[in-house]
């Protein structure tokens, strides 16, 4: 179990790129509401929000530079939650 004494330093430029990306995605998520996706509209909003959350996790929360075990565990938990939701919809979508 090594300690994190060698803190990774991310250049400011990178943060600015991510910030730009997040703003762009926010604008896109507002813009897509003009398009009629029908029953997929919630899905589209969730996908866009998930991309933003992933960017925050990877860069702002330093997951990219963290322990390998955390890099595996964090996505694993999201997969778990996704599976639970998918299984619930096996009931609702096929009733």
């Amino acid at each position: 179990m090594e300690n994190h004494t060698d803190a990774h330093i991310v250049p400011y430029k990178m943060y600015l790129y991510i910030l730009g990306g997040l703003i762009m995605l926010t604008l896109i998520s507002v813009a897509v509401t003009e398009i009629e996706f029908g029953e997929f509209s919630v899905l589209v909003a969730l996908v866009l929000a998930s991309i933003k959350a992933t960017l925050v996790l990877i860069y702002f929360m330093h997951l990219k530079f963290d322990n390998k075990i955390l890099q595996i565990m964090v996505p694993a938990i999201f997969i778990l939650v996704a599976l639970v939701i998918i299984i619930v919809f096996l009931d609702y979508n096929y009733r």
């Binding site: 179990m1 778990l80 599976l83 299984i87 619930v88 009931d91 609702y92 979508n93 096929y94």
Partner: protein, 536 residues
Amino acid sequence: MTQNESNQTHVSFRDVETRFKGLFAWVFSTDHKRIGLLYLYSIVTFFLTGVALGIAMKLELMAPGRDVMDPETYNAIFTLHGVIMIFLVVVPGLPAIFGNFFLPIMIGAKDVAFPKLNLMSWWLYVLGALVALSSLFMADGPPDTGWTFYAPYSFKTNTNVLPAVIGAFILGFSSILTGINFIVTIHRLRAPGMGWFKMPLFPWTLYGTGWIQILATPIVGITLLMIVGERLFSIGFFDPALGGDPILYQHLFWIYSHPAVYIMILPAMGAISEIIPTFANKTIFGYKAIVISTLAIAFVGYFVWGHHMFTSGMSGTALYTFSLLTFLVAIPSAIKVFNWVSTLHKASIQLEAPFFWAVSFVFVFMIGGLSGLALGALATNVHLHDTAFVVAHFHYIVFGGVGFAFLGAIHYWFPKMWGRMYNKKRAITGWVLFFIGFNTLYLPMFFLGISGMPRRYYDYVERFHGPNIVSTIGSWVLLIGLVVIIYNLVRSAKKGEPAVKNPWGGKTLEWTVDSPPTLENFEDIPEVTKGPYDYR
């Protein structure tokens, strides 16, 4: 080191001078061992309350018609029995008591990662318990919904559902905090040399349990708050009259409450995995298989909640998906059973009380597990759903499984916790009585369920009378066994022979420290070079 300093380091954690005196030295202590014992005393108190309620129910069911209570009281009693036993006893049971006491010692640490958070967990536990039980003393009486608080009844009944639900919500926080604490402790505080696969199996099961506590408990928390919302503001999440879906409640409730069964049973399996190699004087068979099956149970256990809802009106696709997944979870459970039995093969066994508890655990757990498969199959489930069969199955797993493991664990670790030995003959007598009583109590309920006796009914038709008499008598035998066990342990805690460091010949780290341990467990943090069960 001077003589005086050396003596100072060998003071039992009970006798250490602290800022506070008397009771305050306990309820404000951040020592993981004292917190473990605080949990023990509170949980045992609630357990005995739950037992009293259970005995009262069996008394009512001894004969058809009204015997000792009216139907409303019976409804309240089975609800309270469930709420107390599940939320206050079995969910915290092994992790909060033995996990707190032994996790740091078994991984070679001086305490858990966050001792103050640990103390806060206990305080939250007590607060949650008081809030939940306050429903007893308010007008309108205790809730009558069953421990599952199913919608829409839970927001229609006039009884005090709110305190029970809010109490369970607070208890959830206690559980989450303990889970976080244990996971961080295991990740960060293992002794040098103790790689993941050199860690004993009890900490491994606490690790799996910790993840379930963190990931599943918030779901029941929010679900219980939704019940509060329904009752107070008629929001309409679950009320069909307002466009809600009562089955959604069942989904949300069981998404937590099924994994909660694994919160209960995994540490029990961990305790059994400690007891069996010690008393078999043999390395555990298939260490890695047990570890992987622990994690597999924790993982697959998330996806089987729907088997509680086979007759609720779910879609066909959901039905067979849940049935298939339920059968899958039986595989890692069976792997463990095979491993325990294989460990006993060609072993030199010490026939002591903890060993009897452990092997009888395997016996009752198998009956519980196999009857679970009968319930997991869609066709038989329709017949057996909400019958006494479910009650029997559930008690074979939760009382037979967790209860036997708990009693096994307390007989196994008693010398370490109190520094004294108990009367071995009396311990075995208690086990014999308890084992006979347990099976006499619950086996007839399988037959009653198959013949169609519903659960949660206070009355029944004449043809169910015979097995019900047997079952009630079983509850008395079990109670006598319990009295013998408790008398023996309480008496021995004060008057037993002083225990040596390692009375059973165990190999894990807790048997290398003093009995009872000192405040910081180890004078020097041990260097681990061998596996945890290095027998032969």
